[in-house]
């Protein structure tokens, strides 16, 4: 039987070759992708990770629109050099509400997974407007329009509803709201309520004053609010390092 199974059969029958190729490729895909959905510890069970607030979410959209991910990753790998430079390695749990995730695979600029809180809002505004004014060797483009373009938040509810269909727990009903109160606490649950999204967005932009100008809400407000929350949700001082080891 085995003697008759010659490679020649594959080489001389295009239909068999096609089926054989598809089987070989799907094995590769199944082995690499399927386990991530099946293995129960892929996403770590850690406290603190919450969906983005409406303002942060709009900031994230601008991040994607401007293509920040083309040069900046958001994935600190568990290597010593990366930990020394960027901070604690990224957890799968930290991007569980990201659709699509911004892990990236290209670093022309530094990783941004833990940039939140590392610089002041002022610095971000200055740096996004004119990067070389603070980092002379930078090759990052200038983004001066962020400061002058008013943020369009008219459709923020729709954006939240779209994410809700992917499983992000933005709430549309009292029942879902109560679930969020239990999961994230009252203050966060209020921010995740779609019916108050615009109101919450305006309130956060005004109290945070991310772009240094309280008179209007610019795209800069949203982007800086987003950057300032990156990597800050999980309090690693409360987690034993070996517990994270055991998730893998």
């Amino acid at each position: 039987m085995l003697k008759n199974l010659k490679h020649e059969i594959l080489e001389t029958n295009v239909g068999v070759l096609l089926v054989g190729t598809m089987i070989a490729i799907s094995i590769g895909g199944l082995v690499e992708i399927a386990p991530l959905f099946l293995i129960k510890d892929t996403v770590e069970n850690v406290d603190g990770v919450r969906p983005y607030t409406p303002l942060e979410l709009r900031g994230r959209d601008i991040y994607v629109r401007e293509g920040c991910y083309l040069c900046h990753s958001q994935m600190i790998r568990p290597f010593r050099d990366e930990q020394l430079r960027y901070g604690h390695y990224s957890l799968a749990a930290e991007s569980k509400y990201d659709h699509p995730f911004q892990w990236g695979s290209k670093r022309t600029g530094p990783d941004l997974a833990r940039v939140g809180g590392k610089y002041s809002n002022e610095w971000h505004v200055q740096h996004l407007t004119a990067p070389r004014s603070v980092v002379p060797e930078s090759v990052m483009p200038n983004y001066p329009w962020l400061l002058t373009t008013p943020l369009d938040y008219s459709d923020v509810e729709d954006r939240m509803r779209a994410l809700r269909t992917t499983g992000v727990p933005y709430s549309t009903s009292q029942e879902e709201y109560q679930k969020n109160v239990k999961a994230f606490g009252e203050a966060t649950a209020k921010m995740l309520d779609i019916s108050h999204a615009q109101q919450n967005l305006i309130a956060q932009a005004e109290s945070g004053n991310y772009d240094g100008d309280r008179s209007s809400i610019s795209e800069m407000d949203a982007l800086v609010a987003y950057l300032q929350v990156l990597g800050t949700m999980v309090d690693f001082s409360k987690i034993k390092p070996e517990d994270l080891v055991k998730y893998r």
Binding site: Y119, S133, Y247, R248
Partner: protein, 306 residues
């Protein structure tokens, strides 16, 4: 293929004939290559057995490889090989290597650290990347600072104090510069007088009459500038108010202004609008107390330390 024919090794073809005449040569892979290929298969099996590999239902084959590390309770424990365990182990090893230095840094008073040549070179080599990663974005390389962003750390002028303790406090807790706006509280002429006076303090040529009026206003309860900047206008480091008598400017780029009017305009802007900036983030949590102490010495050694 042509070689095959020239060497007259006979017709090594696959045996198929297409169209009556077309034949295909058969060139088997070299033996060494075939065995190397089999060897990679054997290697792969060994690899699967040592490292985490095949998924099995909700779990996976963890492999025989183990990594031993010290847990949070200080006890040795091991876990199957994975990159997180490996990082934990490598971090422990590196920390152990640096421990003698950091122990010494933590036990010695600041003044002693830079006097010990070995410790001094450790501070310099470990401080350089720490400063570059965390501080240089605002304070620039070498701590030269930037007008409108962050103060120079290499000069003798300190906003919050240049002693070791103060530098450590600043790095640990961060800072937030604040000056109230005076646009509502004062008349435009009064602000103009004050700007002239403030500029006169650092030797700028201004309108002496206006400066005299500004002097009076500065020390009066109407403007009350002296509350924060002091009667001698030298600033107070406990609240981070600027010394107005030196030629160092952080927020109003006076040295860059073309003429007196330009200088007055810059200072007027600050008095009118106040300041709510100069925010330095807190580094507690991001850096360890050991790293902060080392960085304190590193920054102090830029030359401005007091």
């Amino acid at each position: 293929m042509a070689d095959n024919v020239q060497n007259n090794q006979g017709p090594q073809t696959t045996g198929h004939v297409w169209d009556g005449t077309l034949q295909e040569y058969n060139n088997p892979l070299p033996v060494w290559w075939t065995y190397a290929f089999y060897a990679t298969i054997v290697f792969a099996i060994a690899y699967w057995l040592y490292y985490p590999s095949w998924p099995i239902g909700q779990h996976f084959l963890t492999g025989f490889g183990k990594i031993e590390y010290t847990n949070a309770e200080g006890q040795k424990e091991d876990w199957h090989w994975n990159t997180r365990a490996k990082l934990l182990k490598e971090t422990e090893d590196a920390v152990a290597l640096q421990k003698p230095y950091y122990d010494k840094i933590m036990s010695l008073p600041f003044q002693q650290i830079s006097k010990d040549p070995q410790l001094y070179s450790f501070v310099q080599s470990a401080g350089k990347p720490l400063f570059a990663d965390n501080c240089a974005a605002c304070h620039q390389s070498g701590g030269s600072g930037k007008i409108g962003m962050a103060p120079n750390l290499a000069d003798d002028s300190w906003i919050y104090g240049g002693t070791y303790d103060k530098i450590q406090e600043t790095i640990t807790n961060g800072r937030h510069g604040y000056m109230p706006p005076f646009a509502e509280a004062l008349e435009p002429e009064q602000i103009d007088d004050l700007a002239n006076y403030v500029l006169s303090l650092s030797g700028n040529k201004v309108d002496p009459a206006k400066a005299a009026k500004g002097d009076e206003l500065f020390h009066s309860n109407t403007a009350a500038c002296f509350y924060c900047h002091g009667a001698n206008a030298k600033g107070r480091q406990d609240i981070g108010s600027a010394n107005l008598t030196d030629k160092i400017w952080l927020w109003a780029d006076v040295p860059d202004a073309q003429d007196t009017a330009g200088k007055v305009a810059l200072v007027t802007q600050v008095i009118k609008g106040g300041l709510n900036r100069g925010v330095m983030p807190t580094w507690q949590g991001r850096l360890s107390p050991e790293q902060i102490k080392l960085l304190t010495v590193y920054v102090h050694e830029f030359g401005g330390g007091q």
